[in-house]
């Protein structure tokens, strides 16, 4: 999926949408992605898996 959305990936020239330099827009997107991925790439805490196991078991008993 596009990180910066269709407008950016369509390859707008140096001046990007919203008046910002396209390279700067790209950098902002890159930094946000790093921040997001720091958490998204971490292992899923057991508490969530335990919770889903519990909910799943309850659902199967219904």
């Amino acid at each position: 999926m596009p990180i910066l959305g269709a407008d950016y990936t369509a390859g707008r020239a140096e001046q990007g949408v919203g008046g910002l330099d396209a390279a700067l827009q790209s950098q902002i997107g890159h930094k946000l992605k790093i921040m997001f991925d720091q958490v998204a790439n971490a292992a899923i805490p057991d508490k969530f898996l335990d919770l889903l196991d519990k909910l799943h078991s309850e659902e199967k008993l219904k």
Binding site: G5, L32, M35, A42, D53
Partner: protein
């Protein structure tokens, strides 16, 4: 939809839900509470999910609604004292320039809620404008406009006018990371 399929879908969505939640609220502990509440609500209301549609987007919608409801409730109870919310911000410094990330997160929290949400969904979570519009309950054009305004505001808040001031770009980051030069916190 079988219970097994639901569980698998939920497990697969958890990493992105956590990323979205922490980007919204700025605190990992709070983010995990939001994810937990989202999973509970989603399981309880699974019958309202339309099979064959986007489960991830549906879960993101529940999470953002939960977050904004909570924000509205808290705002009614206590007006946030300047800096109180910011002082609670904490993201894990595992990799990549901790200070840069904290600075970015602080700046992100100064954006309007709707702009921050749009920017996170499209630029960080990799959602299309259409998906982001569905999640936020607004028009695609509105999302585009919010993303543009958010990017401009973010660079203004951080006083950044050129990409170089923002640190290494994606390609340089990849090389630094590969060679083990990535800056540690």
């Amino acid at each position: 939809m079988s219970a097994d399929t639901v569980k698998e879908g939920f497990v697969a969505a958890i990493p992105n839900l956590r990323g979205f939640a922490v980007s919204l609220c700025g605190n990992l502990e709070h983010a995990d509470d939001l994810v937990q509440e989202t999973l509970l609500k989603a399981f309880k209301n699974i019958n309202s999910f339309e099979e064959g549609t986007n489960l991830k987007a549906w879960l993101f919608t529940i999470l953002r609604n939960t977050y904004f409801s909570e924000r509205r409730r808290l705002k009614r109870e206590v007006e946030d004292v300047d800096g109180l919310h910011a002082s609670r911000l904490a993201i894990h410094p595992e990799q990549h320039g901790h200070m840069d990330m904290c600075e970015l997160h602080d700046a992100l929290n100064l954006l309007k809620d709707d702009q921050r949400e749009a920017l996170i969904l499209v630029c960080a979570a990799g959602m299309s404008y259409e998906e982001a519009a569905t999640i936020s309950g607004c028009a695609v054009g509105t999302i585009k406009s919010r993303v543009n305004r958010a990017r401009a505001k973010l660079s203004e808040i951080m006083g950044v006018k050129s990409p170089e001031e923002f640190g290494p770009d994606a390609a340089t980051d990849a090389i630094l990371s590969e060679r083990g030069y990535r800056r540690q916190a």
